[in-house]
């Protein structure tokens, strides 16, 4: 079990910047590296994990953040080996 190598607090952002920043952070990680995202409820936490999966990454968990005001979620993503970014 590896600890997350990076954490990104995106609670201040809306789509598509949430995904822009997530994608760049993932691009900077080695394959298998993990990224912890903090996202607001609603559209960010619904669409960012889906976009990550579409891009070939693994969403390991989505959970409310203990100790934080409600409405914030922690999403753990593992960088995929062959992201959908690789072309057909």
């Amino acid at each position: 079990m590896t600890a997350p190598v990076a954490r990104l607090d995106l609670r201040a952002y809306a789509c598509p910047l949430t995904w822009v920043k997530t994608r760049i952070a993932l691009e900077r990680l080695p394959v298998g590296g993990r990224l912890e995202l903090w996202l607001r409820e609603g559209e960010p936490v619904e669409s960012v994990p889906r976009s990550a999966e579409e891009d070939g990454h693994r969403v390991l968990s989505v959970e409310a953040i203990p100790g934080e005001p409600p409405g914030a979620y922690r999403v753990l993503v593992e960088k995929g080996a062959a992201p959908a970014a690789a072309l057909p």
Binding site: P16, E43, S47, R50
Partner: protein, 249 residues
């Protein structure tokens, strides 16, 4: 009639509408009406040719009209800083010879399709999604279908698409907008449109173009004139309105 006696309505002055407006003005179309109710954002500047660095925060309609007037003083440009909606759509379209839809959401695209049929004017529909450009001409007199013949209805507002669908490779939008203008110029010259009844898509990575025939769908309410104007969809939180076959400006 010369081109200088013709007019066009361009919905949106951004990634599609911008290149289309510049091309139509350069060609000498006499009167251009542009509907755009947004302000310039820094994320627009990878692709929207009417706006420069210093315009961020300004109203798009005003900036676009000023830029077009400076470059092409003989063209009459009418900026309308308002929403294109069911209240003004038919009236705006009746005032011109051809409509170009460069809007960035499904609700507006369906409304434009419905209203153009209602007003009896040809519509050039354009879209860009990621690296793909999409064109369709809807002609009131033609045999080809409309947007509702193709998709029936906009996707419901709740169906939030992937955020990656907001991605646009800048120059692909410019290509799509240029194709829209070239098509409108064909229609204004009285020629048959290249995309009448034919959905054309161009995928930039493979450089492959594809044509799909769009026939009038039996029972299409919009083609029959019984469709209430516009869809029920509203833009999602991230302006992304693309479904499985989405398009964005």
């Amino acid at each position: 009639m010369p081109l200088s006696a013709k007019s066009a309505l361009v919905i949106g002055a951004g990634g599609l509408g911008g290149p289309a407006l510049l091309t139509l003005a350069a060609a000498g179309v006499g009167r251009l009406v542009l509907v755009e109710n947004d302000a310039v954002d820094t994320s627009n500047l990878n692709r929207q040719p009417l706006f420069k660095e210093a315009d961020v925060g300004e109203r798009k309609a005003r900036v676009a009209a000023a830029r077009l007037a400076a470059l092409f003083p003989s063209v009459v440009v009418e900026p309308r800083d308002e929403r294109f909606d069911a209240g003004n759509a038919v009236e705006l379209i009746r005032g011109v010879d051809v409509v170009l839809d460069g809007s960035d959401n499904f609700a507006t695209k369906f409304l434009a399709s419905d209203a153009a049929l209602r007003a009896g004017r040809p519509l050039v529909h354009g879209g860009v999604l990621r690296t793909t450009a999409q064109l369709l001409t809807i002609s009131p007199a033609g045999l080809g279908g409309c947007l509702r013949c193709l998709f029936e209805a906009p996707p419901p507002p709740g169906s939030v698409p992937s955020c990656a669908d907001a991605g646009i490779l800048g120059p692909v939008a410019s290509f799509a907008g240029g194709l829209m203008a070239a098509e409108a110029l064909r229609l204004l010259a009285g020629e048959r449109g290249a995309y009448e009844g034919r959905l054309f898509t161009y995928e930039a990575r493979t450089a492959r173009g594809r044509l799909v025939l769009v026939r009038k769908r039996q029972g299409c309410a919009a083609c029959a004139g019984t469709q209430p104007l516009g869809g029920t969809a509203s833009a999602s939180a991230c302006e992304v309105t693309a479904g499985r076959s989405g398009e964005l400006a």
